[in-house]
Symmetry: C2
Subunit: 332 residues, 2 copies
C-alpha cells in the first residue's frame, strides 16, 4: 500500500520502560508539553485566531485543523500498526487457507520469514492487505478491528496499540476543539480501520476521519443490504493526494496541519498557502529512549524534505525528546 | 455521466405562471406543506426521535438525514441543471476551440442539434462534461460556476437556477437542523458544482455535500500549490454507490433519507435497514402546472421501483400537487 517499506522494518525494538510522568501542575493548557517555542507557537496561534477583534481572527467554520495519524498521533514503529493487524489477521485466517502454506507472501508471514516477505515486494504487500482487509461487510470489518485492538499488544511496550498515542497531541486535539476548531484526521491509514478507535481515543467522530480506502460494493442480501469490502484499492491518501482528499471531504482549506513525514508535506504546503493566519507543525521523532528516533534515513515515516521546508517556512518542529514531558498516556 | 438520458430530454417545456402563495398562517413548522399525511409523517418522526424519554429517542450525533439534490431539493427539468451549465460553457468556450465546429459532440451543441447530440451517446456526454468541467483549478472552477449561477436563467421560468429550489424542502432542512439533525446532500451532481451554492441556498456547508467527482491533481506552481481538475471520472454517486459514499464520507448510517428517483432507492434501503426509528421520503413529481409531472416513463428522474418499494415499506411519498402549497420560494 503506502509502499514496500511497510515491510522493511521488521527489526525488533529493544524493550525499555515506559515513562508516563504526571502532567505538570499549574499548566492551564498543554500540560504534557515542556515550556518552549513549540508549545508557545501552538498557544499563540490559537489565541490570535480565536480572540475577537484580533487582526488574525478566524470564523469558527474556517477553524479547520488536519492531523496525520501514524507517527503524528500514535507511534508507527517497528512498523505501521495497521500492517501488524494485517499480519496478525493472516495468522488468524490461516486455518481456513491451507493453500497459504505454499503460497507467497502468505507463507512468509506464517513462517515469520522476513526475507521472503520483503522479496514479495509491493505486489505481495497488496495481497496481504487485500486478504486481510477485504471480503467481509463493513460492519464485520469494524468488529474484527475492534476485537484485535482489544487483545493485541505492542511488541516493545506490551500495551494495547490504542494506548500508544501521544498524550501531548491528545491535548492539542482537545485544546483546539475547546477553541472552536474542527479536528480532522487525514492519514494514509485505512479510513474504516481508524474510525473504530478515533472517536474514543482521539475524540474525532467518523465523519472527520479521512484515510485510504478500498472499493465497497452495495449488495442486497436476504436479511437486508450490506456494503462488502472489495479486494481493490479505491484511494491512497498520501502525499499530493492528501490535499485532494481534504478538498473532497472538507471542501475548505485547513488553517492548521500536523504531520511527521514527507508524506504530509503537501498537506502542510496546501494549508500554509492559504490567506490569513496559518500553522504547520511537524513531529520530529528524536527520542529513542521513550519512543523512537528517526528521520531522513527511516523506511517508515521518512522525514527529509518536509524538515527542510519546515525551517524555510517557519513551521513548528517538535523535538519529541525536548518538547514532550510525557509521551504516552498512563496505562488504563 | 449519470447516463445518456441527461441528453435525451431536450424537449422544451411549455411556459406557465409561477405560483408562490404565502406560507399558511399559524403553521408553526413546514408552513409551505398542506396538512396531510406527508407533512404529518415528518413531524411525527422528528418529534419521536428528539423527545427525551421517547422510546425512539436518537442521540444528536446519530441524527443524520441525507438528501438527493436533483428533483428532490431543486428541479431537474427539462434536464439536469448541471448539464445546462455544461452546454452553456461549451458555447462560451467555443471561440477558443475552432476545431469544435467540425467535431462531435461539440458541433451538435454549438448548432443546437439535439439529434446529433443524442447520437453522440454516453461517450459524447462524457466528452462534453470533461471539456466543460476539467482543465482548471478547483478555485477557478468554483468561480466559473458562481458566475454562471449569477447570470443563467431557466428556460421555462426565467429565474436563476438557484431559485428553482423547493420551498417545502428548504423548510424540512431547517426544521431538521433546528431539531439537532445533520443535513447532508448525497447527489449524483458534481460535488464541487453543488458546493458553490449549497451553503447559501440550502444552509448545507461544503463538508456535508457528497456528490460525483472527477480526478484532482496536486500541482506546485510558482505562486503556490493548486488542485487541477482532470478530465477523468473519479466517482459516480448514484444508485448502490450512494450508500458507499455515505459510508465513506459520513461513516454512520442515516436515520432519514429523501429522494425522488430510482437512483435514490439504495440510499433509502440502506437508511431504512438500520435499527431503531427510520424515515424515508420520496418526492413524486405530480404537478405539471406548477412544476412537472413524471415518474415511470421519464428519462430524467425515473421513478419506478422506488415507488413500489415506498408503498411496501411505508416510506412517505410526497404528492407534489396535493402536499405542497408552494413550490418555489418567492423571487428575490
Amino acid at each position: 500500500m503506502r509502499n514496500l517499506i511497510w515491510l522493511l522494518v521488521l527489526a525488533s525494538a529493544a524493550g525499555c520502560a515506559v515513562e508516563a510522568p504526571a502532567p505538570a501542575e499549574n499548566a492551564p493548557v498543554l500540560p504534557s508539553w515542556n515550556d518552549g517555542p513549540a508549545r508557545q507557537s501552538i498557544i499563540d496561534f490559537v489565541e490570535r485566531t480565536t480572540t475577537p477583534g484580533s487582526a488574525d481572527f478566524v470564523e469558527p467554520e474556517d477553524r479547520i485543523a488536519t492531523f496525520d495519524n501514524d507517527g503524528t498521533l500514535w507511534s508507527e514503529q517497528p512498523m505501521y500498526f495497521q500492517l501488524l493487524f494485517a499480519i496478525d489477521r493472516i495468522h488468524m485466517m490461516a486455518a481456513d487457507h491451507p493453500e497459504w502454506n505454499d503460497q507467497q507472501p502468505f507463507k512468509a508471514v506464517l513462517e515469520n520469514d522476513n526475507e521472503a516477505l520483503i522479496a514479495s515486494g509491493e505486489h505481495g504487500l497488496m495481497q496481504l492487505l487485500m486478504a486481510s482487509h477485504a471480503g467481509m461487510s463493513t460492519d464485520e470489518f469494524a468488529q474484527i478491528v475492534s476485537d484485535w485492538l482489544g487483545k493485541a499488544r505492542h511488541p516493545r511496550f506490551d500495551r494495547p496499540y490504542s494506548e500508544l498515542v501521544y498524550q501531548p497531541m491528545l491535548e492539542v486535539l482537545d485544546y483546539l476543539r475547546a477553541n472552536g476548531f474542527q479536528t480532522w484526521i487525514v492519514s494514509g491509514g485505512g479510513i474504516e480501520f481508524m474510525r473504530v478507535f478515533a472517536q474514543e481515543v482521539y475524540g474525532v467522530g467518523p465523519q472527520q476521519v479521512i484515510g485510504s480506502s478500498i472499493e465497497l460494493e452495495y449488495e442486497m442480501r436476504d436479511d437486508g443490504p450490506v456494503l462488502v469490502r472489495q479486494p481493490a484499492l479505491h484511494f491512497l491518501n498520501d502525499k499530493g493526494d492528501k490535499p485532494v482528499a481534504i478538498e473532497r471531504f472538507i471542501g475548505r482549506r485547513p488553517i492548521a496541519a500536523f504531520g511527521n513525514s514527507d508524506g504530509d508535506l503537501q498537506m502542510l504546503q496546501w494549508t500554509a498557502a492559504g490567506d490569513g493566519p496559518r500553522f504547520g507543525l511537524i513531529v520530529h521523532h528524536t527520542d529513542s529512549e521513550r519512543e523512537w528516533a528517526y528521520d531522513r534515513d527511516s523506511h517508515i515515516g521518512r522525514l527529509d524534505q518536509a524538515l527542510v521546508e519546515a525551517a524555510e517556512r517557519g513551521w513548528t518542529v517538535v523535538d519529541m525528546e525536548r518538547d514532550w514531558a510525557t509521551i504516552y498516556p498512563a496505562s488504563q
